[in-house]
């Protein structure tokens, strides 16, 4: 009988008690003895020379402890923020990688770029003094979007004369052009992947502390990956060795990618705390978050799909411009290249794929990974153009997809864009989704809407993603400057309870429960006797953190390996206690037994023996029962599935109502179905948000127009329906748990599904020119009235 707290059970979350009772411990809930407060002076201009920064009046104000400018950082030899990935252009040249000072030096390059930091006794005093810092800006022309950047109206960096960061390609352009020339149908589609702001509800916070007695620096920060921050900040920015630098990311209120990156404020509070010998706390307000958290997406693409007369895909050619913003954020260059173009085969057998990606600097906040990172953009391109092709050649969109799917017996499948898919059953999830939404009944529902004066549309999105990031050797060969393995430590205590340390980080994903379920299942201990610890570099051996749906696929695999070691050692101890050979010992449900005998010993007795080793095989084993494993994945994992959206449009107002949304996903094996469903719901909401509501707007001169929740339309409870979600299981063949990752699927799949539904409904009303996201009422209304 399966355990009710083991693998496959919807165990209620261990972390919830503290959250529902208001006892979570988020970074802003922490205060340090003698703490001071930081406020930043930020540029109101998108592009300007810093003629002078005069801090003398501010420094004389009440409560001011210190003020630092970019010049102070330069004098102290504090380096700029590093970029973690180097992309090479198609001519072999490395990307342009300008310095990214933590406080602006010489020039400011986006609205919100930090010029100085004021440290004071109270937050009010810090803010008041920040207002009094006199900055003489020499305002320069600015480029607020990629079109302006290409025009050369302004130049951000000397080393990037045309504002281009790189011009990268994957595939053979001549070959693809030749194939396209022979195609019976060529479908061309321009697409904009709108710029988004991640908007975790907890704003970023950083507290720096310095222990004069030990020389240890501590940073408390809202991060998805404390070890990555320690590595980047310690080794590259501040020159601090790991053993004197502790980074703690306690409870974190959502991340969605934007809390991966190493931010200037983290380095500044850490460095300045040692300078002023006082702890320093900085808490972003929401306006600051809009201006300084790395944004996501922001692609402009023209895609071309060639098909033969029967609808078989022959070639896909994609030209994409990607906005990097004003500086290169931590993983920015990888997002529109190796996390994007490598997914452009989608679920299909398209034999030839070519992508050319040009990345541009603009006077906007840096752009980096946001939930899905590159894969939503790839899915949007493929699934929009496939739907458009179906419409143009008059085929059912589900049939066109099914015709071109990689078949379930073709795995492992080498795509033309570098990746080798490990497993999948795409027809299975397509069929599951069609059933869930009652695809056959759509025509009747559309007719009913029409009778009521409404337009109805249905749209598919058959997505694939590369998760379980990532095999270190592979990403290293592609330009990553770090490895992407994961680490687990399993400490069995003398009484048989267990503490597990993981290098992944939970900021909503429920690792404290999911990982504990794996341990309960494997060791046969009740889940309440298992604690999962993350988020503190002083506690955790090492780790690369949580993003790219990697925690269970990589961190869970490390856990499985560590459990293998625990089990192997425990078996030897049990064998000694039972006076048998360890090869004869079986372990199940927390009991060690010898087949064919009535001998048995409980896991708890073995644990106790390991720590009270009176009767112990000392010649063979060390006392204790604690094991650690690093796991570097053999391949990415490839979650895939099919989402279908159905929308109703009121042609009088242009309002789009999401009438139904179904998701059929294949995440491999599932440890906690309840948590997985929650992850899918959240992802869908963000994807629907991108399609219907959200859009970050800068004006041409680089002023941020959507700088608050009054201007940036976040999905709210009354914008969304309930979602129908289901899963199919095709286990991952190359990791020990057979898991693939579920965190990003919704955000990857949903935008194309919703926009295919919207454009489908509009097409039925005679609008053939597709509209871009977000499909706001005004945009939809205008499209209807232009037709």
């Amino acid at each position: 009988m399966p355990r009710d707290d083991g693998i496959g059970a919807s165990v209620r979350r261990k972390e919830d008690f503290r959250f529902v009772t208001g006892q979570g411990s988020y970074t802003d809930d922490l205060n340090r003895q003698g703490q001071t407060y930081a406020a930043f002076v930020r540029s109101p201009h998108a592009h300007a020379t810093l003629n002078s920064v005069n801090t003398s009046a501010a420094a004389a104000m009440d409560g001011v402890v210190a003020i630092f400018t970019g010049q102070d950082l330069l004098d102290a030899e504090v380096n700029g923020l590093p970029c973690g990935w180097q992309v090479h252009s198609k001519d072999g040249e490395p990307m342009v990688e300008p310095a990214h000072p933590a406080l602006a030096q010489g020039k400011v390059r986006y609205v919100g770029d930090a010029v100085a930091v004021v440290i004071a006794e109270t937050l009010g005093q810090a803010r008041a003094a920040a207002e009094a810092v006199e900055v003489d800006y020499g305002v320069l022309p600015a480029v607020g979007n990629m079109t302006a950047a290409k025009s050369g109206k302004a130049q951000l960096f000397e080393e990037a004369p045309n504002n281009q960061c790189y011009d990268w390609e994957l595939g053979d352009e001549a070959e693809i052009d030749a194939a396209m020339a022979k195609a019976a149908h060529v479908v061309e589609l321009p697409l904009v992947n709108n710029r988004l702001i991640a908007n975790p509800i907890e704003p970023r916070v950083a507290i720096g502390d310095y222990d004069t007695a030990t020389g240890e620096h501590t940073l408390f920060t809202t991060s998805q990956n404390p070890h990555v921050i320690r590595l980047l900040m310690g080794a590259f920015v501040l020159g601090l060795p790991e053993h004197k630098l502790r980074v703690v990311a306690p409870d974190v209120g959502g991340g969605f990618g934007t809390k991966i990156f190493h931010y200037a404020e983290e380095a500044i509070v850490t460095w300045a705390a040692a300078k002023v010998r006082r702890p320093i706390k900085w808490t972003s307000d929401r306006s600051e978050a809009f201006m300084t958290d790395a944004h996501g997406r922001d692609h402009e693409t023209v895609a071309k799909l060639g098909l033969d007369a029967d609808g078989e895909f022959l070639a896909l050619k994609v030209q994409t411009d990607a906005n990097m913003g004003a500086y290169l954020s931590t993983f920015a260059p990888a997002v529109p290249t190796y996390l994007y173009a490598t997914l452009l085969a989608g679920q299909y057998t398209t034999p030839l794929v070519y992508a050319n990606v040009r990345a541009w600097f603009t006077n906007t906040v840096p752009v980096d990974a946001y939930r899905g990172a590159g894969r939503p953009e790839a899915t949007y391109v493929i699934e929009r153009i496939v739907e458009e092709a179906a419409r143009q050649i008059g085929m059912d969109p589900a049939d066109l997809r099914a015709k071109n799917f990689i078949s379930p017996d073709a795995f492992p499948y080498q795509t033309p864009v570098a990746l080798e898919y490990d497993s999948g059953n795409y027809a299975g999830t397509l069929e599951m989704a069609k059933q869930a939404i009652n695809y056959d009944g759509f025509a009747a529902r559309q007719a009913a809407s029409k009778a009521a004066g409404k337009l109805r549309g249905i749209g598919f999105s058959a997505y694939i993603e590369a998760c379980g990031i990532a095999p270190s050797a592979v990403v290293g060969s592609l330009g990553a400057r770090a490895g992407l393995y994961e680490v687990a430590n399993v400490r069995v205590h003398p009484t048989g309870s267990v503490t597990m340390h993981t290098g992944t980080h939970s900021h909503g994903q429920g690792h404290e429960t999911t990982f504990a379920q794996v341990i309960a299942e494997r060791l046969g201990v009740p889940i309440e006797n298992v604690d999962v610890v993350h988020g503190d570099t002083n506690n955790i051996p090492f780790g690369m953190g949580t993003y790219g749906s990697r925690s269970l696929a990589v961190g869970g695999s490390a856990l499985a390996k560590a459990l293998d070691k625990v089990e192997a050692k425990a078996k030897k101890i049990a064998a000694h206690l039972m006076e048998a050979s360890d090869t004869d010992v079986e372990f199940k449900d927390g009991q060690f037994t010898i087949a064919g005998t009535d001998k048995s010993v409980a896991f708890g007795d073995v644990a106790l023996t390991a720590y009270v080793p009176h009767n112990f095989p000392h010649d063979e084993l060390e006392p204790g029962l604690e094991e650690q494993a690093f796991y570097d994945p053999a391949n990415f994992t490839f979650p895939a599935g099919c989402h279908i959206a159905e929308v109703e449009i009121d042609p009088e107002t242009g309002t789009v109502t999401l009438a139904n949304f179904v998701a059929a996903d294949d995440f491999g094996n599932i440890v906690n179905p309840m948590i997985v469903e929650g992850q899918v719901h959240g992802g869908i909401a963000q994807g629907v948000g991108q399609a219907l509501l959200e859009g970050c707007v800068y004006d041409e001169d680089g002023q941020l127009v959507t700088g608050s929740y009054m201007d940036y339309a976040m999905p709210r409870a009354d914008n969304l329906p309930n979602f129908t979600v289901d899963t199919q299981v095709t286990p991952c063949p190359h990791n020990p748990l057979g898991v693939k990752g579920c965190g990003e699927a919704g955000a990857i799949a949903a935008p194309a599904a919703v926009m295919n539904a919207v454009t489908g409904a509009l097409r039925a009303a005679g609008v053939t020119k597709p509209i871009d996201m977000p499909a706001t009422p005004s945009k939809v209304w205008a499209a209807l009235h232009a037709s």
Binding site: D16, D29, I675, A717
Partner: protein, 155 residues
Amino acid sequence: MASVSMTINGKQVSGEVEGRTLLVEFLREHQRLTGTHVGCDTTQCGACTIHMNGEAVKSCTMLAVQADSAEVSTIEGLANGDELHPMQEAFREHHGLQCGFCTPGMIMSATALAKRNPSPSEADVRHWLEGNLCRCTGYHNIVKAVMAGARAMNA
């Protein structure tokens, strides 16, 4: 500086605050009741929702001195020791939270709804929660939790 006194979670408290001190600052920084969160500066996100004199209000949008003499309750006052309030239990049971940051505001808002409407429909809940942002859950499980929690509170 001004003196304020109020009842918070049944306990009489008083303090000296600046005139500009927000109620949420008084709760978080003066009283160290950090369960009430701050997620925005335009009264849009609802993470700071508390009850004042029985009504759900956003504590980032009022001054501490405006709560003088009021009865305030926060997320910390809901559970009875280890025994969760029915709305807290419903959020746990229905996985109505992920990162937990919006959760205190959601729960405080939801209990106020349940007092007005003992059996809210899905549409009622979605409409009522329009002033509380969640970025994690897509609201699906929050809506389920609030409907179940309201029924349990009024059972």
